[in-house]
């Protein structure tokens, strides 16, 4: 069991900066994020895009902002659980929550800070009728264990890196692979595109371009995927597995079931301290809502700063909190003793 002062759900910019502000109050933080790396949307969606409204930076690449935040919080030694989804929370004592991830990791703390951005990044699912019925019965949205596909007939759909990479890797393992893609060009890395084209020319895979999946068929398990090719029309393909790889999209996820007041996929908070309706749980950044809310990183930083003051008073109601400037004492002055 991991024990900390603040469990921060979401390792995006707001979650990361919370570590700094909490560190100034000697509060320890543990961050949980479903993505395998810190940075949230900045790393996952737009690492190479410039951001122009971070005070003091006329322009900074999203990826660099995350790198800088990681450096800024390093002295406070935050710990991370990455690649796991915050699944459930339980009140396990007076001022004690236990959070459990989808992989069973448990973390205990008096305060939970939800800095979940737009939600949990989950695979984008094609809106095909009956698709959900076949989840775990022939439809997979990610490849966890390539061996599962040994000697099986597979259809992979998509045109990005993951579709190309898995086509290449599974070509050696599967009995038969069909890759379908809506265009004749791919957006993936050039050498991957070349390799896929080579595999298709050698007859090792079936490459069907200008085509999309339009239906799934089967009784209890998937047996056929119906596709539509622009010139050849509709065709049903016999398969064991259908793997649609269309990137990730954020969804609110399990947070919706934690008894928090939610308005249009956002958590309602008191702007005094960004507390939610559940004592000990705060929400900051893009995931919260209040009158006048702006989804800006700089607003999230402000929210994080005020929030930790309130969290400190909640954890230590008898301790007097004296406010100090980092410029006077340096960050070392906050991390020592």
């Amino acid at each position: 069991m991991i024990k900390t002062d603040l469990i921060i759900i979401g390792a995006g910019p707001c979650g990361l900066f919370t570590v700094f502000e909490a560190g100034l109050l000697k509060l320890k933080c543990h961050l949980v994020d479903v993505l395998p790396q810190a940075g949230g949307q900045l790393t996952e969606i737009y690492p190479k895009k410039p951001i122009y409204d971070i005070p003091g930076y006329p322009s900074i690449l999203a990826g660099d902002l995350v790198k800088n935040l990681m450096e800024q919080i390093k002295p406070f030694e935050p710990s991370f659980t990455l690649g796991e989804k915050a699944d459930s929370i339980e009140k396990t004592g007076d001022k004690e929550f236990t959070l459990t991830t989808d992989k069973g990791t448990q973390i205990q703390a008096p305060v939970i800070v939800i800095a979940g951005g737009l939600g949990v990044f989950t695979p984008r699912k094609p809106p095909l009728e009956g698709l959900e019925k076949f989840e775990d019965h022939g439809v997979d949205y990610m490849v966890k264990d390539p061996e599962k596909y040994r000697d099986k007939k597979i259809i992979i759909a998509g045109g990005g890196d993951s579709a190309l990479d898995w086509t290449i890797e599974l070509a050696e393992i599967a009995k038969h692979i069909t890759l379908i893609h809506r265009r004749s060009t791919f957006r993936g890395a050039l050498d991957s595109v070349d390799k896929v084209m080579e595999l298709a020319q050698q007859g090792k895979i079936d490459l069907i371009t200008e085509a999309q999946a339009i239906g799934v068929e089967g009784d209890s398990t998937l047996t056929h995927v119906k596709i539509n090719q622009n010139t050849l029309g509709e065709k049903s393909i016999d398969v064991d597995y259908f793997i649609p790889l269309f990137g990730l999209t954020p969804k609110l996820g399990p947070i919706a079931d934690w008894g928090l007041n939610i308005d249009r996929s956002a958590i309602e908070v008191d702007t005094l301290d960004y507390s939610t309706n559940v004592e000990g749980i705060y929400a900051i950044g893009d995931i919260n809502t209040y009158e006048g809310k702006l989804k800006l990183i700089l607003c999230g930083f402000h929210e994080a700063t005020l929030m930790v003051q309130s969290a400190f008073k909640y954890i230590y109601p008898d301790q007097k909190l004296s406010f100090k400037y980092t410029t006077v004492t340096g960050v070392e002055g906050f991390t020592n003793g």
Binding site: Y46, K49, P126, R183, R187
Partner: protein
């Protein structure tokens, strides 16, 4: 004088038609207009052609600027993409768009 407001016809995912108005002088794109009318368009990336959550079909014969390579790449992550598919965040509201007809594409669940 330039037209200050244009008319937009939108068919939602239930097939219902709506008539919207949008100002041409506020530097808006069609995704922002749809969001402001509370259509269930996510616009997750804020308008950078990086999420495909504002996918619509252009149902009128307006001649629009061709989709950029970035937009095409992102459309690869959308579903039921047709020849007239566009990411509405990449289409600026302008006078030329008057009476444009859009249909919101199915969402990914």
């Amino acid at each position: 004088m330039a037209k200050e407001t244009i008319q937009i016809k939108v068919k939602d995912r239930k097939g219902e038609e709506h008539h919207l108005e949008a100002p041409t002088d506020m530097n808006l794109n069609l995704m922002e207009v749809l969001k402001s009318y509370d259509f269930p368009i996510e616009g997750t990336c804020g308008g950078m052609a990086l999420c495909a959550s504002c996918h619509c079909y252009i149902r009128s014969d307006h001649q629009l600027k061709e989709a950029s390579e970035d937009e095409e790449d992102m459309l690869d992550q959308a579903f039921f993409v047709e020849d007239n598919s566009r990411l509405t965040c990449q289409i600026k509201v302008s006078e030329e768009l008057d009476n444009i007809e859009l249909e919101i594409a199915p969402s990914s669940e």
